[in-house]
Amino acid sequence: MQSAQTSFENIRKDFPILERTVRENKTLVYLDNASTTQKPNQVIDAINDYYRNHNANIHRAVYALAEEATELYEQTRDKVANFINVKNRDEIIFVRGTTEAINLVAYSWGREHVKEGDVIVTTEYEHHSNIVPWQLLTQEKGAKIEYIGMDDNGELILDDLDKYLATGKVKLVTFSLMSNVLGTISDADTIISKCKKAGVLTLIDGAQAVPHMKVDLEKLGCDFFAFSGHKMLGPTGIGILWVKKSVLETMNPFHGGGDMIREVHKYETTWNDLPYKFEAGTPNIADVVGLGAAIDYLSKIGMENIRQHEIDLTTYAIEKLSHVKGLHIYGTKDISKRGGVISFNFADVHPHDVAQIIDEEGIAVRSGHHCAQVLMERLNVAATSRASFYIYNTKEEVDKLINSLNKVAEVFKL
């Protein structure tokens, strides 16, 4: 694997921000990739080029610029379809991000199909964006929200799912493919096959999975799938919602306005074709173009190589971290079941204090509840520190993290 090794070393050169220093002239060690990733020149340049050379509104005007802008925008839809293996490009809707995607489903699908007494099933390790929209919906409808529990290894307890499905009241099962706190990779195949047998729809939050491993929607067979561009080298403010066409056709629009209509009269309106029915108003064209460049970049490296790189890095980091006295790592140690996200607590030191002390060494980790307070309650902690990796991270950076933790131990006299 000489060539793969070399290519990962060269990757860092594509990310200008990784060259800068922070605090007291410390090289930036960016380990908050589960939150958002840095952007390569290829993505920055694509957005720049769009505004410098192609900027126009899409879909209607006939002049040259508008045609170019429309083509660039629609090209990304094809790239997305190809990237996650979707046959029908009309099932791909551009949204602001995973949060908006899930809210769209809760609003447009949920309001149409969820009735009093129905149940929406989610899990204990969801991000708030896969809990709160369902609370809003179920409260409005007099429906109920139930949680698939998590065992002490950070894996879902699928017996809970069987129990809920047996009631015959479940309308939707929604879960993240990879936990943003524990890195646990959900057993999507089993969940989806159980739901299919019960005639229940499934939604997958792919925000943490899509950037880090090959995701094949044809194979998965879920009904809704959401992810964000900014966690996979793309710009902020752009994300994807995919919905199976037969389901999408039963949904009402999310926002009303321009572009989503066929004909508007004083008292009635007919809707545009899919997917435009769900893309009201001028979309985030430049960032769609940027997302296209990010997909090109990731595809060139290959998602299998990216997953392997993160497996190597995470294995190395877990091994090193487990030798730090007083440090507790959450979640499974089985690398085949987890991504490059490591949440930990260090003795009795609060994660904010850990983050602040290692920030002085240039190390960026996230501390807090990671928008997963239900999970924090389950783990019985207020917060954790979280290091999360991506393609540009190195073992040397893991070593720097370990060294910086020694500083924490020093300050807190551990």
Partner: protein
């Protein structure tokens, strides 16, 4: 402020062994608040006799800064007249620990307990006193602390 300035002996000691930590079961007033972004969460219970804070305790979860400042704040408030407690300022707390120049993202950790204390007094005074103008000022102050 660098870490060496922030994480001095007193902060570490207070965070390890907080003062006035716990609950007052027969409190006259209790208040809870949290910082939504970081999850720091503080409750303050007070016993009030003859217009004096005769006992005060706090409990909750927070970082070293939050715990140290809560300790110091309760130490300042304990035994004092309500009118004095009402006027405790952020610099009274920060100054005690040498945190006057704390960076903006951490100020909320340091001042959460003061915010809770001011709201607690507001809710107590609202029930027990007629002078509502003064009480409203307290609420405003708590809301705009950071």
């Amino acid at each position: 402020m660098s870490n060496a300035d922030i994480y001095h002996e007193m902060i570490i000691d207070y965070s390890r062994n907080p003062i006035n930590y716990g609950k007052i079961e027969d409190h006259d007033v209790t208040f809870h608040d949290s910082n939504p972004l970081c999850g720091d969460s503080i409750d303050i219970d007070m016993k009030i006799d003859d217009n004096k804070v005769s006992d005060i305790k706090f409990h909750g979860k927070g970082c070293a800064i939050c715990m140290a400042c809560s300790s110091v704040l309760t130490e300042i408030a304990k035994g004092k007249d309500i009118n004095e407690v009402k006027n405790i300022s952020k610099n009274d707390v920060l100054g005690e620990l040498g945190l006057e120049n704390l960076q903006a993202v951490r100020i909320k950790c340091a001042l959460l307990s003061l915010k809770v204390l001011k709201y607690a007094l507001y809710s107590y005074l609202g029930k027990h006193l007629k002078d509502s103008q003064d009480v409203d000022k307290l609420k405003e102050e708590a809301a705009n602390l950071y």
